[in-house]
């Protein structure tokens, strides 16, 4: 096995035992990138980018380990453009809270940033100003989105591990499409300071990794209270290594009937059912549960998320950073800058959100959506009274073809149908590989838990992983 194929925890052992060096790890990544990047395109601004020189990092747990960062998380001195023309050339003058934590733990911030849908608006990474990323398992397919570059880079061994962000499934759905592990932490677990905001009541940063142990390890580093994010929660972070037990005997697993309906790919259905059988054979006790407001999640989301986005993205006006259109009149300058700087999906969402918040429509759309959000949250509260976790597919289908859904935004929105409720309810959820279709595309299993019970996710996911081999498969590139 090549060095770049190893997991982070394997590399930590090798670095500690002096069987490899930090510079060999970087070299292995760069030579892999040179080989597969023309096909995968997981990274942006590759041309002209300088190879990183190892910087002195504190002698700590992650010393010498590079990590790939999504293009919407601020990295001091490294361009962070949200894959949008409007942030062209933006070089943050500060590090996001998660980047500071990683640096303090000794990690090397990989200087190439991962591709994404512009401002995280999308489910396929096709909305990137830099063009789409391709799925390492089938280059004609999308990697999912919006953290498609992060997931594809990890799946293609162009990264050891990565950070993404998840507002409606943007970590879990690409993890599912690319056959890797992705976690959306509980709302408030990870500081959003330095994450360029999409929808502030839904956004969370989270890990994308090759196995569950790495996911737990990276969570341990980035979780925790931060006074710079007033929505981050001051709650103790447990030692997640204790959750990697290989024991789920007696755990109560809920299977929501509302997630197994028409529109679901029959192969995905079979693979998920086999995974549930596997969990039962390992001692879990599964039973049906109802989440009756599931069908309202997508419409609620596309009101709340776009409303919040429309106000968050008001800051991109050509004044303080990024791209500015020339005009002698201030209002004209704003309009031209935003008209030329934002891509189609960004415009669509900003206008939809502005509409939902505008006079005369606020009660019918925004306020109503907030009320239905309460109902969705209550569904989960009721379910978790009886169950330790809930199991669903991460996505109704495996990766779809590039171009297949770009002409029909509504069709694209519906690909997030299984991941959106989790963000609306603020709960944590993980996606992990649980099988392959006949065409060789990965399928993801989603596990949801109570707020702040990521330990439960790691316990169930790790146990499943210890008893299956799906995570060991690699795409042929």
């Amino acid at each position: 096995m090549e060095i770049n194929q190893l997991t982070a925890h394997e590399l930590i052992d090798k670095l500690k035992g002096k069987q490899t060096t930090a510079s060999s790890v970087l070299d292995a990544l760069y030579s892999r990138i040179q080989k597969v990047e023309p096909g995968v395109k997981a990274y942006v601004r590759v041309e002209g980018a300088k190879k990183s020189v190892l910087k002195p990092q504190p002698d700590s747990l992650l010393k010498g380990l590079p990590i790939t960062i999504k293009d919407n998380i601020c990295t001091e001195g490294i361009n962070t453009e949200c894959c949008s023309k409007i942030l062209q050339g933006f070089r943050p003058p500060y590090d996001a809270a998660v980047i500071k934590k990683l640096k303090n733990a000794g990690a090397e911030i990989f200087p190439l940033k991962a591709n994404m849908d512009e401002f995280a608006f999308g489910s396929s990474t096709e909305n990137s100003h830099f063009g789409p990323t391709h799925n390492p398992w089938d280059l004609a397919c999308v990697p999912g989105g919006s953290s498609g570059g992060s997931a594809a880079s990890v799946a293609a061994d162009e990264a050891i591990w990565a950070l993404g962000s998840d507002t409606g499934g943007s970590i879990r759905q690409p993890a599912s499409f690319c056959g890797v592990v992705g976690l959306k932490p509980t709302y408030g677990r990870v500081s959003r300071y330095g994450l360029i905001a999409f929808a502030s009541s839904l956004d969370q940063i989270g890990p994308i990794t090759k196995d569950v142990r790495d996911c737990a390890l990276l969570s341990q580093v980035i979780f925790g209270y931060d006074p710079n994010d007033s929505t981050s929660v001051d709650q103790e972070v447990p030692d997640f290594s204790k959750s990697l037990t290989n024991d789920i005997r007696g755990l109560k697993v809920g299977i929501p009937g509302e997630y197994f309906v028409e529109g679901m790919d029959p192969e995905v259905k079979t693979i998920i059912e086999e995974a549930i059988n596997k969990l039962n054979s390992l001692g879990a006790v599964s039973a049906k549960v109802s989440l009756p407001h599931t069908e309202y999640a997508v419409p609620v989301y596309y009101i709340i998320a776009t409303a919040e986005a429309s106000s968050n993205l008001a800051r991109f006006d050509g004044v303080q950073y990024g791209w500015r259109a020339r005009s002698d009149n201030l209002i004209e300058m704003y309009k031209k800058t935003r008209g030329e700087g934002f891509g189609d999906e960004a415009k669509r969402r900003i206008i939809l959100g502005t509409f939902a918040l505008s006079h005369g429509y606020y009660d019918a759309y925004y306020l109503r959506a907030l009320k239905v959000r309460t109902l969705i949250k209550q569904d989960f509260d009721a379910a978790f009274k009886h169950f330790d976790c809930i199991i669903t597919p991460t996505s109704p289908t495996p990766a779809f073809k590039i171009g297949e859904k770009t002409q029909d935004p509504l069709k694209m929105y519906l690909s997030d149908i299984y991941t959106i409720s989790v963000n609306l309810a603020g709960i944590p959820a993980i996606s992990m590989p649980c099988g392959f279709t006949k065409k060789g595309l990965p399928v993801g299993l989603q596990i949801m838990a109570r707020p702040f019970d990521e330990a439960m996710l790691f316990r169930v996911a790790h146990t499943f992983e210890q008893n299956t081999d799906w995570h060991k498969s690699k795409p042929k590139l």
Binding site: F90, R91, P93, Y94, Y187, G188, S201, T231, V233, H293, E295, Y296, V298, P299, V300, Y302, I303, S310, A314, D317, G318, V319, Q320, Y321, R324, S327, D328, L330, I331, M333, K335, K336, R338, G339, D344, K347, R348, I350, I351, L352, T354, F355, Y361, A364, Y365, L367, R368, A369, L370, K371, V372, R373, T374, L375, K377, P409, L410, Y413, L424, G426
Partner: protein
């Protein structure tokens, strides 16, 4: 609820986005479809439900009113498309 071209044009103005005629055409029909789908929400009785503006039980977060570190003017202006001295520079807004 339907959305027509005039409404989209007006909302785009509120959002300070200049739309090209073909964009306006396409967006109007797409937003019409999306809002048609979202109208599903009106079938629910939400009369007795409280809106959740925040998903966790969180109250006002306060801190001591003390000054801390902040970016220097030079650093804060590093990314400015145009600047004059210690200020961001924009087109004239007063005659």
């Amino acid at each position: 609820m339907a959305i027509d071209k005039e409404t989209v044009k007006y909302v785009a103005h509120l959002a300070r986005i200049e739309l090209q005629p073909d964009e306006l055409e396409k967006l109007s029909s797409q937003l019409h479809d999306i809002l048609g789908f979202i109208d599903k929400l009106s079938t629910l009785d939400t009369g007795a439900v409280n809106p959740s503006s925040h998903i966790l039980a969180i109250s006002n977060v306060l801190r001591e009113d003390k000054t801390g570190d902040s970016l220097s003017p030079d650093k804060a202006l590093e990314n400015a498309p145009a600047k004059k001295g210690n200020f961001f520079s924009v087109p004239k807004i007063l005659e």
